[in-house]
């Protein structure tokens, strides 16, 4: 006798549930959308911060300044020693003149006016490209330690390395991550709470119906199924909304980053497969929330 309801009946009842209180359905769908959007935003920030740091790590170079007048053979010897180290991808030697030419390009043309060539700083330099795995601030410190060992090498006058900048960048990313994480947790918790409680209210506002169904012999499963389907439908609507919202925000943020930082932004700042996750997560949230709330009501 343990037959479930007909599909036709289920769809009809779920549709009636939606139609009977479109307002409630909209609230639930919107909360789910909001929750998904927040998760999406957080994922987006995480994804892009990681990508940025990975790219930074790939193009990291350390400038090893050699003492002025270091003879080419000694320079070549130093180059050789640096090249042999772990984590070094490439070493490029620049002579005093090459360095000066490079600096001239970097400097303000106005500044250069009236200055003679010799006034432009220049020094023999080894540009060391480092293959670093930059995943945390600890990696930066390790890199700093690594460069310090170069000071012991003869003929090395100075080692320039944007450690301070990197430290600041990491601090910034970390602070953004932490704030984002705390906010996401707070907002996600609230959103989950809302989804749960709106669906619970939806169940609550239909407790007469649920009671009566029970009284005429419906099994808890039979009563539950239309509510679960409703939850899934709300989750789907939420996923659609969240996709639209995130798409809009994505465009907005891309434009912002491009205009303010003048950076070349990759086509998509969204983690791949995110839309799929939204469309899995939305219905799942709806299902779980409605399952919990109907289950709770039916048990008491």
């Amino acid at each position: 006798m343990k037959r479930g309801p007909h599909l036709r009946y289920v769809l009809r009842q779920a549709w009636l549930l939606v139609g009977a209180s479109p307002w409630l359905t909209a609230v639930s769908a919107l909360t789910i959308a909001l929750a998904l959007t927040l998760v999406g935003l957080f994922a987006m920030v995480q994804f892009n911060a990681s990508r940025l740091l990975r790219e930074l790590g790939q193009s990291l170079t350390v400038q090893v300044y050699l003492k002025d007048g270091t003879p080419p053979p000694v320079a070549a010897q130093v180059e050789q020693r640096v090249r042999g180290r772990d984590g070094v991808r490439a070493v490029r030697a620049l002579s005093r003149e090459q360095d000066r030419a490079r600096n001239r390009k970097l400097l303000d043309p106005e500044l250069l006016q009236g200055l003679d060539e010799a006034a432009i700083p220049g020094q023999p330099v080894l540009e060391v490209e480092i293959e670093a795995e930059l995943a945390s601030r600890g990696d930066v410190e390790a890199l700093v330690a690594w460069t310090k060992t170069l000071h012991g090498v003869e003929s090395v006058e100075d080692v320039a390395f944007g450690a301070e900048k990197l430290r600041l960048l990491f601090a910034g990313v970390e602070i953004a991550r932490t704030i984002g994480f705390v906010l996401s947790i707070v907002l996600l918790a609230s959103a989950m709470f809302f989804v749960f409680s709106t669906i619970r209210l939806s169940v609550f506002s239909r407790r007469d119906e649920i009671d009566i169904l029970g009284l005429v012999g419906a099994t808890p499963t039979f009563i539950r199924i239309p509510f679960l389907v409703e939850g899934v439908l709300q989750g789907l609507c939420g996923a659609v909304l969240a996709t639209l919202l995130l798409g809009g925000l994505h465009l907005e943020l891309r434009g912002l980053v491009r205009d303010v930082y003048m950076l070349n932004v990759p086509w998509s700042l969204l983690p791949p497969g995110m839309v799929v996750w939204l469309f899995v997560g939305g219905p799942a949230v709806g299902l779980v929330a409605s399952g919990l709330s109907v289950g709770r009501y039916l048990r008491t």
Binding site: K2, A20, D208, E209, I212, G214, V216, G217, A218
Partner: protein
């Protein structure tokens, strides 16, 4: 069919709704339950449907002790009991047809069968023209008839009716009583709670009287019922042949024979 042994029911607020009630209703019987307001009539019916559990005592339905019934078996018990509530308990957001169809949807009957049975019954109760109305748009008497239809539609082994004619004019009341005696004649055990002395006197059936929760009187069936009180204005008897219930009885039609409610019917079957 229904047996109560020393049943007590005390509500959490302390009111003693039933006190030491012992009674027996045999299969295929038609019994009136009467008593002043607050005597415990509705409470007794609620206990039979396991909407409340007795504080003390034993209740057997179809030989099965429902005092120890598992929660998961309750729906299967209820499928064998049709009930008409005093306050109707229709689902406000489903129309008349759907309200009646619920009892059959639960059983998983094919849609066409559901439509056939519900429409036939609504027609018999003069409600077919209101089939798509919501309960809130019905008159009191119409709501009551929808509640009756829902209780009858799945041809239950037991029918409990709480004041089923309280909102009906005498003519309709007589028709409803005709319907109830009809279903009873086909084997369903019927218990009707009512204040309507005229109804009770006219039919002369067995009458249990409660008073302040105690069984005060058990008047057996009168051999010759008084059917024609001048004030009753009973209309022509309801066309029994057209009733959906007479055409396809699922229960044994002999009023005293064993009715097809085995104890196992309340369980979820082999797949539980």
């Amino acid at each position: 069919m229904i047996q109560l042994y020393h049943v007590h029911k005390r509500y959490p607020n302390g009111s003693e709704a039933l006190v030491d009630v012992t009674l027996r209703v045999r299969e295929g019987e038609f019994v009136f339950l009467t008593g002043p307001s607050g005597a415990g009539k509705s409470t007794l019916l609620r206990l039979l449907l396991v909407m409340e559990r007795a504080t003390d005592g034993q209740i057997l339905i179809g030989g099965r002790n429902i005092h120890v019934l598992r929660d998961s078996s309750i729906p299967f018990l209820r499928r064998n009991i049709g009930i008409v509530f005093q306050d109707f308990r229709l689902v406000p957001r489903r129309n008349v047809f759907d309200n009646v169809a619920i009892a059959l949807e639960i059983l998983g009957l094919p849609r066409r069968e559901i439509e056939r049975r519900v429409n036939q019954l609504l027609e018999g109760l003069r409600l077919l023209h209101r089939a798509t109305a919501l309960p809130g748009d019905l008159s009191g008497g119409e709501q009551q008839r929808v509640a009756i239809a829902r209780a009858l539609v799945n041809e239950p082994a037991i029918l409990l009716a709480d004041e089923p004619t309280g909102n009906l004019d005498p003519e309709l009341a007589a028709e409803i009583m005709g319907l109830l005696t009809d279903i009873n004649r086909h084997g369903t055990t019927v218990v009707v709670a009512t204040h309507d002395i005229h109804l009770i006197e006219r039919y002369g059936l067995r009458t249990l009287a409660l008073h302040r929760g105690r069984l005060a009187d058990d008047r057996p069936r009168q051999p010759r019922p008084v059917v024609d009180l001048p004030s009753a204005r009973v209309s022509q008897p309801v066309a029994l042949a057209s009733s959906p219930l007479s055409s396809q009885a699922v229960v044994d039609p002999s009023p005293d024979g064993p009715v097809a409610v085995a104890a196992d019917d309340f369980d979820e079957g082999g797949d539980a």
